[in-house]
Structure formats: C-alpha cells, structure tokens
Amino acid sequence: MSGQALSGLKVVEWSDFVSGPYCGKLLADLGAEVIKVERPGTGDKARSYGPFPQDIPHPEKSGLFLYLNTNKLGVTLDVRTATGAQILSKLVEQADVLVENNPPREVEELGFAYKRLSEINPRLVMASITPFGQTGPYRDYRSCDLISFNASGLAFVNPSDGVEDPEGQPPLKGPGHQGDFVAGLSGAVATMAAVLTSRVTGSGQHVDVSEQEALASIMRSYLGLHAIEAMTWKRLKGSIPGMVSDKYHCADGMVYLLCGQDRFWAQWMKAMGDPDWAQNELFQDRISRRENWDAAKAMIEEWTRERTVEEVVRTADASRVPCRPINTVKALANSELAAARDYFVDVDHKEAGTVKYPVGPFKLSQTPWRVQRPAPLLGEHNEEVYCNRLGYTRQELTVMRAGGVI
C-alpha cells in the first residue's frame, strides 16, 4: 500500500518470540511489507505465551503474539529441511531486509551466514538480533530476557520498594520482556540506518545487535558516572538516595510527585498551605533538604494521604509542580490522555475477535500509523507468497505440507 513511510520496503522476518518480531512489527507498522516465517505446527513461541482471553490458550489468540505481529504476512516454513532452506533463500533473494534472531551458530549451520546471503542478494540488509551478538566469548551462551537483563547491569540497579532489606532480594528484572523489546527496538533503528545507506551505496550490510549492549546502552549514565566519577552503587531501596522525586500514597491510590526539586519546592509548600514543619531549618536549604528527605517525605505524605489522587494532581497542576497518578494499565487505558491521543485502537482479528491494542508511540503527520491487517493466522499467506510470488503450484504446497516443509 503506498503512502506509508516505509512503503516499498520488503522485509523477511525469520525470528521468534519478542526481539526479532518487535523489530519486524516496527517496520511493518510503518508500511514495510514484512513476511514472517514461522515453523509449521506450533509457529512462533509467542503464540503459546498468553495472555489469552479468559485464560484459554489458543494459538491465534495470544495477546502478546497479536500485538507483536500486526501488519505482517505470515507463512509457515521448516528451514531445517532442504526444501525449506531453498525457499527461504528465494524469499531473501527478493527482499531488502532480513530480520532474524536465531543463535549465530545455527544460522551458520543452516547455511544462512551473511556472507552467503550477500552473494544471493548484494543489496540485502541482514539484521541479526541476539542476546550477546555475533562475536565475543558469550556469543553462544543460551539466554533469555532474564539473563540478558542481568548481564547489562540493569537488574542490579532496578530499585525496589516495600521490601525491608533490598540486599535480601535478588536483582530484579523489568516486567514482561523489557530486554527483548529494547533489543528489537535497537534493531529497528540499526536496520533503518542500514537501509538508508543501501539506498545510496546500492549494497547491503550485516547489522549485529546484541541485547546485552542494547540494555547496557540504557545504563550509559551510570557507566559514565562510573568512568568519570568512579561511582559505584549498592542495591537501591526505594528511590536513589538524594532523589527527591518520589511516590506518595493518597487516600485512593498513589501519585508520582516531583515536589522536592529545588525549582518546585517553594511552589509546593505554598500549595500545601505553607505548613509549619516546612519552616524547620532541616528543610530550608537544598542540601539539608536532600539529607533529610525521608523526614520531609513523611510529612508530605501525611498531607497526601488525606486527599484523593485527583485532588493532589489538581493541586500540583495548579502550582505547576509535576505530578501524575501512578497508573495501572487499566487506569492508563481509561485515562483522558489515552482518549485524547487515540492511544488505543480496535483491531479486528478473525480468530481473536475485536480487541483494543496500543498504537505506535509517535504520530507521523504525513504517514500515520495504520493497521492494514491484524497479526496473521498461522500460515495464512502461504498461497499468496509461495504461489503468487515464488511460482509454486497448489499441488506442490500440498506435497510440502504433507512432508512437514510448510
């Protein structure tokens, strides 16, 4: 379909679960044609992970799969068979981009090393998204989101609250599959850079995205402080010491409020009606305020606990002090903000029915985000891709199906 930012870009996605598919989704959602290759039978592993409507597992109704695979065409293919490998080569021949997240050794063994693929298709951009990259001593480590998250240092500095002794708790991974998502996202940026290059030079490249690096990159300020200021960190209970932005309990929920920052303190004290305790010398200057923040926070929380979230937010807004409710996803989905931004869209899916999905996190004025098609059923586009584009007959497809190739 013309008119979208990446219309005309042809992508083959030979990847599974989250990291590769998220990269593929980002490209597909902006109009690239993405052909997703899944193994016959079970298909992408995300189909087996929920959430499922009413908790009834169904391979066409996994919320994770449906979200990650909007706007893609789907085919089945067992690339471990000789016929299957041949077909993948043909698909790659016709593509601009290959996104894959398979273990590097397997990719080589199956004959899909970039060197060989670039001979078939010199324009090809191959984006390989793996836990530890294509090189280095951990290249062949078996890994998943938990492992990568911990290998980046992010788990160690992920603070926790409501626990007495943070060092008694293990380092904490982010919710869901943050690590895999970030790797896929970095992959999309790197892929687009390579695509832009290839438009100019006419030749492709192999992009090597390591999830560990993608997450370590998010640690850059810590790493910078370590390199320059020789800082190190212990496990964090609650906020970072000295951080005066914090969460506060209200009568009916919690807010995240930045009242302690120097630029907001005076306004906030005024908004709270200039309480007496604030006159104490402990809270008069910034340095001592930081040092005694626990006490300040306790006093402020006495005030917020007597008010609803809505009241506190309204008060803060009126005083131009940053404050917003701490939302559950339900509250986010039903928020005024989400409605005003059209953050959720109804997507119709043949099996899963009509479900609300979050849309892309940015708006493009000329080439807006669009759902052209929902996530594909397993093998939904076998005929369209194999017969119409690669020239196989229907009968050949029945033979391949019986033989487990598709």
Binding site: G63, S143, G176, S210, S217, S335
Partner: protein
C-alpha cells in the same frame, strides 16, 4: 573500513533537545554520521551539563552529559532574542531534521512550529518528543521519567511480588527507550522523504512508549478486564526462573529452565541432589507451582559458588544462566570489551575515558562517530562562519547584540 559511508552522512540536524530523552535521539543520529548541531546558550545551557557534578569533571561537562552528547557539535544561540531566532531559521534552512523535546509548545511560541518550518524548508522533518504528546490534555507539561512511567503503567508492574510500585532502574529507562523510538521514527521519515521528497512532523509521547513495551499487561486488560501485578523475576512458564545468591558480596546468578531436557541437564550439573527427585519438582507444571521452594533449593547450590563459576558450569551443560552484573562489572565485562562496546573518548579537560557506545554494529562496516562531547559553544565558528558564511565582524556584532550568547 573508514572509507565506507556512515548511514546519515550529509544529513544535518538542528538539535534543540536537552537533558536525557532528546539528546539520546540525536546521539543515535550523530553516531550514525549526521551533522548534529546542538543549540544551547550561555544563559541556558543543557541543564545536564551541571548535573551530578563532583570534583573530577569540568563544571560544564558532567559525566551524564558526556555519556549522552558525544559526536555532536554545539553552538550558542539566544533564543529569547529575535535575532537569535532568525539565526536559528538560517541554520534550519540548510538542515534536514529539527529535533526538540520541550515541555510545552515552545517551538510554536518562537514561531518555529511545523507549519513555519515547512515554509523555511519544504521537506523539513520536525521531531517533537514529549512526555504526553504535543496534542491532548497534557501537551504543555514537561516530561519526567518517573512521572511518565507512573502514568504509563510501568511502576505498578515493576517490582517483586507484593512490592510497592517504583519506576524501573530509575535513571532514565523511559527516556532512553523513547529516544530509540524517536530515532527510528526519524529514520523512517528520512526514508519516506528519500522516496517522495516529503518531510513531516513526528510527535512522540513517552507515556505511549512505556505502554508500547508492556503489551502483555495491556492486552490482558483489554482482553480479560484484568489488571496484572508485578511478578518479580518470575515467568509465565519457566521454572526455575530467577536470580540466585552466590558467593561474594551481593552477587547473584540468573538461571532459567524452559523444558525437561534443560532440567535434567541442570540436575546433572548440580550432581543430582536428592531433592531433585521429589515428585513436586519432577515435571514442568509441578516445578512452576512449587517454585518458591524450588528457588530456595537452587539457591543452596548457587550459594556455594561464585556467579561466574555457576554460569560456566551451567552454560557448558546447555542451561540458560548468566551473572547479574553490577555497573563496575559491566564496565569491565570481557565480552563487551572484545566487541568494542566501550569507546575511548578523548574528553578535553578530563582525559581519555571509556564511554558506553551504542548497540549499533555493522559487521565489517564503518565504525560510528565517537568524537568527544562538545563544550558549550565549541563549534560556533563552524556553525556561523562556515555554515552561515558570516564574516568575523558580523559574528562579533551578533555576539554584542546577544543573539549569539
């Protein structure tokens, strides 16, 4: 290798961003070869220059600023001065992308909103990053990562079972993930422009970025009207799946077992202790249901080893395992070192430093641009004399008039 082109060579970015999220967007662009011109002012430098300063850094080059702004150029323009804004317009006329992340419609108020920019240069791409989007009820509010994560649902999902909410890895997770979405959107817009000649306006909301990375929870709500709670280190299916204490000071190893085969390999690696034969651990579903006790028992094994020993033993057995690294460990990780993830920046006034690079690596391809982070106004000459072709006198006059300030 260096004869190969960087992807964004020839692309110029006028960079009004500051602090974290915005600068990381333009950092990606700069490393990939774009000519990024950071617009600051002596009366209003990027506030991050002065953040977290101790004694080892220059007063206008904090460690965090250095980590986020290498490969860029910097000039000083007084945007409160109409002549300063005119100069900005001149720079924009010879640029491709304008990036900003103000808390509110500052660009509009300066007469530099998208319609005006389009008149200056018809194919201009304007990137606007904000906490809540440039439309909607909070379009005038500044963004803070904690706030955005709170609103976006992250805080109430991050944490141990039963814990209180908290933004994740507080220092800027939402900022830096938003930045990558922003960089991606800009590249897509550049791609579109290369086909059609058309620019556009990109309006990114950090709150929406947070949600975009939490679809499991959101879809569970939209499908089942249910609100998920933090799950700590647990997984929907795998058990054991968590972090286990090892020898050493607050040292842990992460282990994940996803099927019977891996479980058997794991048991063998542990020397088949008695407890692994108990009924409650012998099959996947039972292990998942009894994971609290299972975690304790696994911890007994890991407790006798260092995290690196445990990792080595388990990886050799084909089990997913890895150390939980502290910041200092990451800085010295042999794998990252061999891959060249850290880049040596020669930072004036501070010295040669290993800074985190970007996770962008082209095999046998060109190395990104890793010039040091710029001092305030370091490239004024380049911007005003070379790009805008000003004479020395003109520049001096504008400095006097406090347009260049």
């Amino acid at each position: 290798m260096s004869t190969q082109k960087l992807p964004l060579e020839g692309v110029r970015v006028v960079d009004f961003t500051a602090i974290w999220a915005g600068p990381h967007v333009t950092q990606w662009l700069a490393v990939m070869g774009a000519d990024v011109i950071k617009i600051e002012s002596n009366i209003r430098p990027d506030a991050e220059r002065a953040a977290f300063i101790r004694t080892t850094t220059e007063p206008t080059m904090s460690a965090v600023f250095a980590a986020l702004n290498y490969a860029k150029k910097a000039c000083t323009l007084n945007m409160t001065n109409p002549k300063g804004r005119d100069l900005a317009r001149e720079i924009i006329k010879v640029s491709d992308v304008v990036a900003e992340n103000f808390g509110g419609a500052v660009m509009d108020r300066w007469g530099l909103g998208y319609p005006e920019l389009k008149r200056l240069k018809s194919d201009i791409i304007l990137y606007s990053g904000s906490g809540f989007g440039r439309t909607g009820p909070y379009s005038e509010l500044p963004a803070f990562a904690g706030i955005v994560e709170a609103l976006g649902g992250m805080c109430l999902l991050n944490g141990y079972l039963g814990s209180e909410p908290l933004p994740m890895a507080t220092r800027g997770y939402a900022d830096l993930t938003s930045a990558q979405h922003g960089a991606y959107a800009i590249l897509a817009a550049l791609y579109h422009r290369s086909k059609t000649g058309e620019g556009q306006h990109i309006d990114l909301s950090m709150t929406e970025v947070v949600g975009a990375l939490l679809p499991e929870a959101i879809m569970d709500y939209t499908m089942n009207d249910r609100v998920p709670r933090p799950q700590g280190n647990r997984d929907v299916a795998m058990a054991p799946h968590g972090c286990y204490r090892c020898q050493g000071d607050d040292e842990w190893v992460a282990i994940a077992i996803s099927n019977d085969e891996e479980w058997r390999a794991f048991c063998n690696a542990m020397g088949n202790p008695e407890w692994t034969n108990e009924d409650r651990f012998r099959d996947g579903l039972s292990r998942w249901k009894n994971q609290e006790e299972l975690d304790q028992l696994v911890g007994e094994w890991t407790g006798n080893r260092t995290r690196f020993e445990a990792t080595d033993i388990l990886q050799k057995a084909g089990v997913m395992a890895g150390p939980s690294l502290k910041v200092e460990d990451v800085a010295h990780d042999p794998h990252l070192a061999e891959r060249g993830f850290f880049v040596e920046l020669d930072q004036p006034g501070i010295g040669v430093l290993p800074m985190a690079g970007l996770p962008w690596k082209v095999v046998d391809g060109p190395r990104g641009d890793y010039e040091h982070s710029p001092a305030l106004g370091e490239h004024n000459d380049y911007v005003f004399k070379e790009l805008l072709k000003m004479s020395d006198e003109e520049m001096a006059r504008l400095q006097e008039e406090e347009a260049i300030l």
